[in-house]
């Protein structure tokens, strides 16, 4: 008879409980507060802050709770911090944007909190059931958030596309998961790893791996499962695009690492091969497609596809070094991507959308600070020192070379060179174009704060990355890497 769960399990789930209670509190506060009050955003930020604080007691724990359904370890902790920070920045970005778009903030903030909850469950889940429910909670929240601007047809179209393709890919993922369960007799990843450890290579298991890889590749928008990304990123409300490209991607990577590194170390050579092919195609197609985009949100969508390709290098390397490089890159990517989207949100005025490339022409005359911040984020995304993006790429490629994937590193470097073209084209528009046709960007205090944090992080992590490296290395070690050393 399986054991029940103990009171102590709830102690370890404190951050999730705080977040859930906070989300429900936001829903109630929406009814109680007067219409148009900005207090709701600050309550949401407070909830996220409280969740962040409640992570503190678990800074050094490494346990499995609730009968081995959820792991509370440093690996999960690192991801939870990434999710919470990006959620806070998303909420800050949204305050004025929601007023311009005239949507009610209550349900919006509730869904942002629920998406964060789903991500946290995904990062901790070491059982297919937990991971799957976390994934669903996150995905359903995002489907709704994408279509939140109801009068906007683009937003509706994006939501429907995302929902249909998401549901379909989820089916594929579930096929894979059910095969894994059928072959191992358990949904727990650690039990699964030990069952598969002694077995000969089973073709059914290969099929399961292929299906799970396909399902997860959709979530990180890896080519050829990326078709939804540009349309969804363009149509969704801009802060949600930012959150989608950062939080949802990071959560999916956490789940990939859990499933493949912890659950399927015996199939390493198979999934490494698959991810290697995906990484090469994803980097190349993402960067080449981004070259011709004139809409900034679309361009950043393709750029984020390319970044998923870079991150896959870390999965392929599979060593603690590769995983820690991924963690470093994910955190850095969070700040530079959210920063770039903050500038786009600043451009949004009552009458101007401001996400076309031409809206940015001559920006440095109209708003030098915004232009400079954007310059910094573009350089960082392109991987130019002394920004943080360079450090992130440097570690990823180093991990690839040390694990013997020199070719992968070469493709990555070549792709970074290609990507500079479209990142710098925006810089040319901002600094060298004479006509200043676009809107006047304006900053609310919340937007200014987000921008300041993103700029500071992009610079500080680029110049003094040591602390982050140490933390990431420690976090990567807690992931069960025993059986997944490089071949």
């Amino acid at each position: 008879m399986p054991a029940g769960i103990n009171a102590i399990d709830f102690y370890y789930l404190l951050p999730e409980i705080v977040l859930t209670a906070g989300a429900l509190a936001v829903l109630v506060a929406d009814v109680l507060l007067p219409r148009g009050s900005r207090a709701l955003a600050w309550i949401t930020v407070a909830v996220l802050g409280a969740t962040l604080a409640s992570l503190l007691p678990f800074a050094d724990t490494d346990v499995e709770v609730a009968n081995g359904l959820i792991a509370v370890d440093r690996f999960a902790l690192f991801f939870k911090v990434v999710f919470l920070v990006s959620a806070i920045m998303t909420v800050l970005m949204s305050v004025r944007y929601l007023e311009i778009e005239e949507v009610s903030p209550g349900e919006y903030f509730f869904l942002v909190l629920c998406a964060t909850l789903g991500m946290m469950i995904m990062a901790g889940g070491i059982d297919l059931i937990t991971s799957f429910i976390g994934l669903e909670t996150m995905a359903v929240s995002f489907y709704i958030l994408t279509g939140f601007i109801k009068p906007n047809q683009r937003s509706n179209e994006a939501a429907v596309k995302y929902f249909l393709l998401g549901a379909f890919s989820l089916g594929i993922l579930l096929y894979g998961m059910s095969l894994l369960y059928g072959l191992s007799g358990s949904t727990n990843l650690h039990v699964m790893a030990s069952v598969f450890a002694g077995q000969a290579r089973d073709p059914l298991l290969v099929l399961a791996v292929i299906l799970v890889v396909s399902g997860m590749a959709f979530k990180i928008a890896a080519v050829p499962f990326h078709m939804w990304a540009p349309d969804v990123y363009e149509g969704a409300p801009t802060p949600i695009t930012a959150f989608l490209s950062v939080g949802s991607k990071a959560a999916a990577f956490a789940m990939i690492l859990r499933i493949f590194v912890e659950g399927l170390p015996s199939m390493t050579s198979d999934w490494q091969l698959l991810f290697e092919a995906l990484a090469i195609v994803t980097m190349t197609v993402g960067n080449v497609a981004a070259l011709t985009q004139s809409n900034l949100k679309r361009m950043l969508a393709y750029s984020s596809i390319a970044h998923a390709g870079y991150l896959l290098i870390g999965v392929v390397a599979g060593t603690p070094l590769g995983v820690s490089a991924m963690l470093i890159y994910l955190l850095i990517y969070t700040f530079m991507q959210l920063g770039a989207f903050t500038v786009i949100v600043m451009m949004r005025r009552a009458d101007v959308v401001g996400d076309e490339l031409k809206d940015f022409s001559g920006l440095h005359v109209r708003h030098p600070v915004a232009a400079f911040a954007m310059l910094l984020f573009m350089l960082s995304l392109g991987g130019i020192p002394p920004t943080a993006g360079f450090m992130g790429k440097f570690w990823l490629f180093r991990a690839a070379i040390e694990s013997g994937y020199v070719g992968l590193a070469v493709v990555g470097v070549l792709n970074s060179a290609v990507s500079l073209y479209y990142y710098l084209r925006l810089v040319v528009f901002m600094y060298l174009k004479k006509e200043t046709t676009g809107s006047e960007p304006t900053a609310s205090p919340a937007l200014a704060l987000t921008l300041a944090v993103a700029v500071a992080a992009t610079l500080v992590l680029g110049v003094y990355p040591r602390v982050l490296f140490e933390v990431a290395e420690k976090s990567a070690q807690t992931l069960g890497l025993g059986g997944a050393a490089a071949p």
């Binding site: 029940g4 859930t20 909850l117 077995q199 073709p203």
Partner: protein
């Protein structure tokens, strides 16, 4: 032996009705065939001793979801001929070729698994008593946490439906 015969008969009916769902000209006929298909799947579950799944299958799929389908069929105008929906970008041949290749691949893998069964398939002892109690017991003990998260998931879906369907917020 009897079990195997029952399985193949039920499986055969599932396939026949699945094909009928796709080929039926009238949308309402499709839905009716789908209900029959779901009932046969429920019978399959019952014959495997999973009576809880069988009941859920009838309540949720044959009951709830099909009612939803019928609403859609009633509300959406499906009277136009299929040609009106034709997409010039559709590559039917390529689609068929790819799915045929995929089917072949899965078939090969499945037949390999049949010839050489997987070594250590966890033999689950069939519960002597009904498994409804078993499922309920597991759900509220071992799997309490995912169960609780699922309640949040449902709340999200509910609020999402209200947000998207309401005219003015």
């Amino acid at each position: 032996m009897g079990e195997a015969i029952a399985f193949y008969i039920i499986a055969g009916f599932i396939l026949i009705f699945a094909v009928l769902v796709v080929t039926a000209k009238e949308a309402v006929h499709s839905v009716v065939f789908l209900v029959i298909d779901f009932l046969f799947v429920a019978a399959l579950y019952a014959s495997l001793g999973a009576e809880f799944l069988a009941i859920i299958q009838i309540l949720v799929y044959a009951g709830g979801i099909v009612v939803l389908y019928l609403f859609v069929v009633m509300l959406v105008n499906l009277k136009r001929p299929p040609e009106a929906y034709a997409d010039p970008h559709r590559r039917t041949t390529l689609g068929f070729a790819l799915s045929a290749a995929m089917l072949l691949e899965i078939g090969v893998i499945a037949s390999y698994g049949y010839v050489k069964p997987a070594p250590a398939l966890a033999a689950v002892a069939a519960p002597v008593t009904g498994n409804t109690e078993e499922v309920g017991w597991l759900l509220y003990t071992s799997y309490l946490i995912p169960f609780e998260i699922a309640s949040m998931l449902l709340l999200v879906a509910m609020i999402g439906a209200i947000v998207l369907a309401k005219r003015e917020l």
